[in-house]
Subunit: 225 residues, 2 copies
Amino acid sequence: MQPAVRTNLADTAIQNIRAEITTSRWQIGERIPNEATLADMLGVSRGTVREAVRVLVSQGILETRQGSGTYVRSAIDAEDSLLRIRRTGLRDQVETRCALEVEAARLAATRHTPEVVAELRQMLGDRGEYNPADHDRYVEQDLAFHKAVVAASGNSALIEVYEFFSTSTQEIIKATVTGELPEPDMAAHSAIIDAIASGDPEKATLTTRAFMAPILLELDRLLAS
Amino acid sequence: MQPAVRTNLADTAIQNIRAEITTSRWQIGERIPNEATLADMLGVSRGTVREAVRVLVSQGILETRQGSGTYVRSAIDAEDSLLRIRRTGLRDQVETRCALEVEAARLAATRHTPEVVAELRQMLGDRGEYNPADHDRYVEQDLAFHKAVVAASGNSALIEVYEFFSTSTQEIIKATVTGELPEPDMAAHSAIIDAIASGDPEKATLTTRAFMAPILLELDRLLAS
DNA sequence: ATTCATTAAGTCATCAGATGACTTTAGGAA
DNA sequence: TTCCTAAAGTCATCTGATGACTTAATGAAT
């Protein structure tokens, strides 16, 4: 259970500090001991403490304020979450990604502006119909379109989650499934923009769901065979 | 587009090193300059270089071999995504979390089993009506109920993302907002279970959405004041 | 008593120099 | 050629010091 036999002082320091936080000995928002004290507690030099703290800061667990101190920002380890999500199956990831896009379209409909709608139409026009000779460009522009739909939701958290799943699933698909998933035609894409432009969240939801359904069906068929 | 004006030497060093890698000036597997040279190149001290390098090592981008050198391990940094999510605003996180739960209930309705429904009813019964004297237990059991709803979706990716958001938002609320968000009554909770049990995805969607709407409204009211 | 500017203490940010541990490679002996 | 040894290169870590920034205490003026 505990490999943890790293001959690496900074890494063990990271683990020790993290342990203090996960066991709630150091609460969220609380200020932790200063560098010199930490160095004494961990039995390492200040330089090593700084390296450990900076890693934890980069992971969002700690937060340093010059002149004030170092504070606990969060107890959850994003790295762990990431790994667990990575281990989930491709199908579930795609399904989640579809769900995210449906909700994004819904929000986009309630918050749409003429400028955003025009930009979406512009992007779809640039992309054009599928042309096998220009496959890479098409895939790239198509992904950009879908990201733009999500961006139109105006929800930054949703945008980031979608971005995460988008790159993640793309990597898996490239790595595992040789065949591409079916891409709905131009009319289906336009329908999404129209639904958003109509301002009707229900319509946007249904349209996007209808758009996504065949993709998941085809994936299930591929995985079954 | 790029704020990036951090007065932080180590962070700018991280960005510079990462830039060398993303632009392929330093290829994967290649050994990068030693610490002293890097210090000269970046115009910082060795200690700062070490802090930057250790962060990149913790992100899997670099790899150090004592006595040998520092090598490029990978160019991708998908890990950033979840960290960026955490830096987004509370409102957007709550909204996304609600969206996730709506989609989860929808999936749960299509895949529900009598056992799962019975378990949900059991959990809700155990939780009972709100009692101020037993606040902590109530909050805990309520959160468990909502996680169980998401778990009933059967989508492991969705479960993991929801878990990430639920702990993340909970921490923010505890840390920032003193007042708790309103929790719908027992009837509203039961309605979600009924909707899932009915097997009607539309009904589950609408019921859960109705459940979530007041929470977001109240949050907006709190943030406005 | 209250307000406000000043001062001092505490803390992180960064630097410089030095030593130890480990890896790699070159050179020499068998 | 093969094997061993020594030297050079590199990361790991420590120590000590200075600057920048924040916070709280101080004290004067109102």
